[in-house]
C-alpha cells in the first residue's frame, strides 16, 4: 500500500468539506429565508449533478474545462487556473458534486429554527453575520454535522468524477478511491482489501470523533 493516494484523499476530503461549508452556509441561509419565486428551481438544480453517473459528470466537466474550450482557455489565461488534470480540478469537481449533501441538510436546519432567535439577536444590534455565527449555527449543529459527515464520506469514496477530470496522476490526482479501484480491476484483491480497510478505519475514526464530540457536548448542555 502506498501512502500517496491516502494522503491525497484526506487532503481532498478536508479541503472539499471546508470549501463546501464556506459556500453552503450562506447559500442555505439565503435559501431558507428568501421568498424568491424561483427558489424551488434553484433547490432542484443543486441536486441535479447527482442524477448523472459520476463519470459522465466528470466527462462533461472535462469537456467544459478542457484547454480546447473557450472557458478552459479563459480560466487558464486570466487567472492561471487549470482545472483538468490538477488537484484544484479535483477539489472543484468534488465541491460541485457534493454540494447537495451540504446545502440541503443545513437549509432544513435553518428552516426549523424559530424566527424569534434571529429577531432577538437583531434587536440586540447584532449583525446578520454575528447572529449566524453565534446564534444560528450553534443551534443547527445536528444538521451541520449531517452535512459534514455526508460530504466528507462521499468525497472520500467518490472516484468517478475524480478519475475523469484528474487523470490518475500519482501524487497529484491519484486518490485512494482510484487506487483501490485499480487494485480490484487488476484482481489484486489483497492490496484492495488493505486500502479499503485503511480508508475505512481512518474515516471511521474521524467521523466517530466528530460524533463523540458532538454527542458529549449535546448531552452535557442540552438535556
Amino acid at each position: 500500500m502506498e501512502w500517496g493516494p491516502i494522503i491525497l484523499t484526506f487532503r481532498l476530503a478536508f479541503l472539499t468539506t471546508l470549501i463546501l461549508m464556506l459556500i453552503s452556509i450562506p447559500l442555505a441561509y439565503w435559501l431558507s429565508r428568501t421568498k424568491f419565486k424561483l427558489k424551488p428551481i434553484l433547490e432542484t438544480l443543486i441536486s441535479m449533478p447527482l442524477v448523472l453517473p459520476p463519470t459522465v459528470i466528470g466527462f462533461y466537466l472535462l469537456v467544459a474545462f478542457s484547454p480546447n474550450n473557450s472557458l478552459g482557455t479563459f480560466l487558464r489565461e486570466s487567472i492561471g487556473l487549470q482545472l483538468v488534470f490538477s488537484f484544484s480540478g479535483l477539489v472543484f469537481a468534488s465541491v460541485i458534486y457534493s454540494l447537495p449533501f451540504m446545502v440541503h441538510p443545513i437549509q432544513a436546519g435553518f428552516a426549523n429554527l424559530p424566527a424569534s432567535l434571529t429577531e432577538s439577536a437583531y434587536v440586540m444590534g447584532k449583525s446578520q453575520w454575528t447572529t449566524l455565527r453565534k446564534v444560528l449555527l450553534p443551534n443547527i449543529r445536528s444538521s451541520l454535522l449531517t452535512g459534514i459527515v455526508l460530504s466528507f464520506a462521499h468525497t472520500i469514496g467518490e472516484f468517478g468524477v475524480v478519475l475523469m477530470i484528474g487523470g490518475n496522476i500519482p501524487n497529484k490526482t491519484r486518490v485512494a478511491s482510484i487506487a483501490v479501484y485499480d487494485e480490484v480491476e487488476a484482481l489484486n484483491y489483497a492490496a484492495a482489501n488493505q486500502y479499503s480497510l485503511f480508508l475505512f478505519i481512518v474515516s471511521f475514526a474521524i467521523l466517530l470523533a466528530v460524533y463523540f464530540i458532538n454527542g458529549n457536548v449535546l448531552n452535557k448542555f442540552w438535556k
Binding site: 424559530p114 424569534s116 432567535l117 429577531e119 432577538s120 439577536a121 437583531y122 434587536v123 440586540m124 444590534g125 447584532k126 449583525s127 453565534k134 446564534v135 450553534p138 443551534n139 449543529r141 448542555f221 442540552w222 438535556k223
Partner: protein, 290 residues
C-alpha cells in the same frame, strides 16, 4: 420623545385585520398597550422594533426618523437601539444564562452591568444553566435581564411578567420602573394585568381588533366623571365557618383574606364562591395610616 403613526394590514388565511395606532411618548415615560388577546399588541411592538414592516406611517425617536414610508426610510432593527422581551422569551438554547446576558453586551461595553443584572434579577444560581433547564418563570426573568443589558433607548416588553408569581412580579415591576427611571428610557409595555398597567404606566393605549379604543393617561381613561367617595368592594366568599356558634365568612379582597362576622339572620344568603358587595361610605381620609 418618541412618536409614531402606523398602519398595517395583517394578513391571515381568513380575512384581515387592519392595525391602526398612533401615539407619542416622552423620554422617561412608560406607555402600556392593553387589549384582548389577538388585538394586535405584539404586532405593534414588532413594528416599532423593525421586525414587521408597517404598510404606512412613521416612527420618530428623539428627532431621528426610524421609519417613514413616505421617504422610504426603514432603519434595521440593529440600528434602533431597543430592548425587547419576547412573549416566547427567545433565549438562545446554545448559551448558558450568563452567555445569553454577555451576548447582549455591546462592543466595548463594560460587563459590570451583567453582574448587576444577575444580582438585581436574582439569577445567581442559574447563571451556568442552559435555558432548557429553567422553569418558565426563570426563563422570563433571564429574558428581561437580557433586554436591559444594553440600556436601550426604547424598551419593548411583551407581557414580561406573566409567568411570574405574585411576589416576584411585584419585585420585577419595581425593578423595571427603577431601570426605566434610572436610564431615562422610553418604555412600552404590553400587559394584561389591569393593576400592573395602572401602577406602571404614564400613558395607556387600549386596542381592540387593531383599532385604538381609548388612549391617554390611566386616570383620564378609567376615572368615572363623578366623585366617588363611596368605595364599592366585592368580597369573594372563600369559606363559611362557624366558631363557637358565631358565623364567619372568609372573604378575599386584594390578595388578602379576611375573616368577618356575618349576621346569622341573613346567613343563608351567603354561599361559598359567592360575592358580598359592600359600600364603604364617605371614607374619612383621616383614617389614613401610611
Amino acid at each position: 420623545m418618541i412618536s409614531f403613526d402606523l398602519y398595517k394590514k395583517l394578513k391571515s388565511p381568513d380575512g384581515h385585520i387592519s392595525l391602526e395606532i398612533k401615539g407619542n411618548l416622552e423620554q422617561g415615560k412608560l406607555m402600556s398597550i392593553y387589549g384582548p388577546s389577538g388585538a394586535g399588541k405584539t404586532s405593534v411592538l414588532r413594528m416599532l422594533a423593525g421586525l414587521l414592516k408597517a404598510d404606512k406611517g412613521y416612527i420618530k425617536v428623539n428627532g431621528e426618523i426610524w421609519f417613514d414610508t413616505e421617504n422610504e426610510i426603514n432603519l434595521s432593527p440593529q440600528n434602533r437601539r431597543i430592548g425587547f422581551v419576547f412573549q416566547d422569551y427567545a433565549l438562545f438554547p446554545n448559551m448558558t444564562v450568563l452567555q445569553n446576558l454577555e451576548f447582549a453586551l455591546e462592543k466595548n461595553q463594560n460587563n459590570k452591568i451583567v453582574n448587576e443584572m444577575v444580582e438585581v434579577i436574582e439569577l445567581g444560581e442559574l447563571i451556568h444553566k442552559h435555558p432548557k433547564m429553567l422553569s418558565g418563570g426563570q426563563q422570563q426573568r433571564v429574558a428581561l435581564a437580557r433586554a436591559l443589558i444594553r440600556k436601550p433607548s426604547l424598551l419593548l416588553l411583551d407581557e414580561p411578567l406573566s409567568a411570574l408569581d405574585h411576589e416576584m412580579r411585584i419585585k420585577m415591576q419595581d425593578y423595571i420602573l427603577k431601570v426605566h427611571n434610572n436610564f431615562n428610557l422610553h418604555t412600552i409595555l404590553v400587559s394584561h394585568q389591569f393593576s400592573e398597567v395602572i401602577k406602571m404606566s404614564d400613558q395607556l393605549i387600549m386596542i381592540n381588533e387593531g383599532k385604538v379604543s381609548k388612549q391617554g393617561n390611566a386616570s383620564s381613561i378609567f376615572i368615572p366623571k363623578e366623585l366617588a367617595s363611596d368605595l364599592q368592594l366585592d368580597l369573594r366568599i372563600v369559606e363559611l365557618m362557624s366558631i363557637e356558634g358565631v358565623k364567619y365568612a372568609v372573604v378575599l379582597l386584594e390578595n388578602q383574606l379576611y375573616k368577618i362576622k356575618i349576621d346569622p339572620e341573613s346567613q343563608n344568603k351567603y354561599v361559598k364562591g359567592g360575592l358580598i358587595r359592600i359600600a364603604v361610605k364617605d371614607i374619612s381620609i383621616k383614617d389614613n395610616q401610611i
